[in-house]
Symmetry: C2
Subunit: 100 residues, 2 copies
Amino acid sequence: MNKPEKLSDAQRSTALAELTAHGWQVGEDRDAISKTFTFGDFNEAFGWMTRVALIAEHMNHHPEWSNVYKTVKVTLSTHDVGGLSALDIAMATKMDRLAG
Amino acid sequence: MNKPEKLSDAQRSTALAELTAHGWQVGEDRDAISKTFTFGDFNEAFGWMTRVALIAEHMNHHPEWSNVYKTVKVTLSTHDVGGLSALDIAMATKMDRLAG
């Protein structure tokens, strides 16, 4: 996988328009995006996390996330570039798709 | 499984003496215990979470937890009793054992 690069202004505004329409929020105090996913129960929430974890390992790009029973709050940012990269946009899109 | 009950003062002090010796901290603003587990990498951290998740489903007692790469911060408390119960002590002990 190529080394991630920070998004350009144009890439950023296209990607964020799409993601914010799907419930993602841009960080106020850091260049990151967050979303809270709510499932039917713990089984569904952790099942989703497990599918995402396998993708994260494959991408070598890992979310920051917290789980309380049926909710999972996710924050995505790319440590190596100090902000949002294409990896975060790809991960957010995959998370949404898996959450159905 | 029996309905959980809040720990008595005696049960509490015995259990907490043991757990705080293993790195658990008692909540300052709520009746809960917390610990941050650090693993070798994401694979180990999420592998541990998966084993804990299966136990949590079996016990019908779920942690609040957050994961950032190789660290997992856990908080345990029993919603139904508004504080610590024997379920939290049992879960904390299992988590420590699985973390090795």
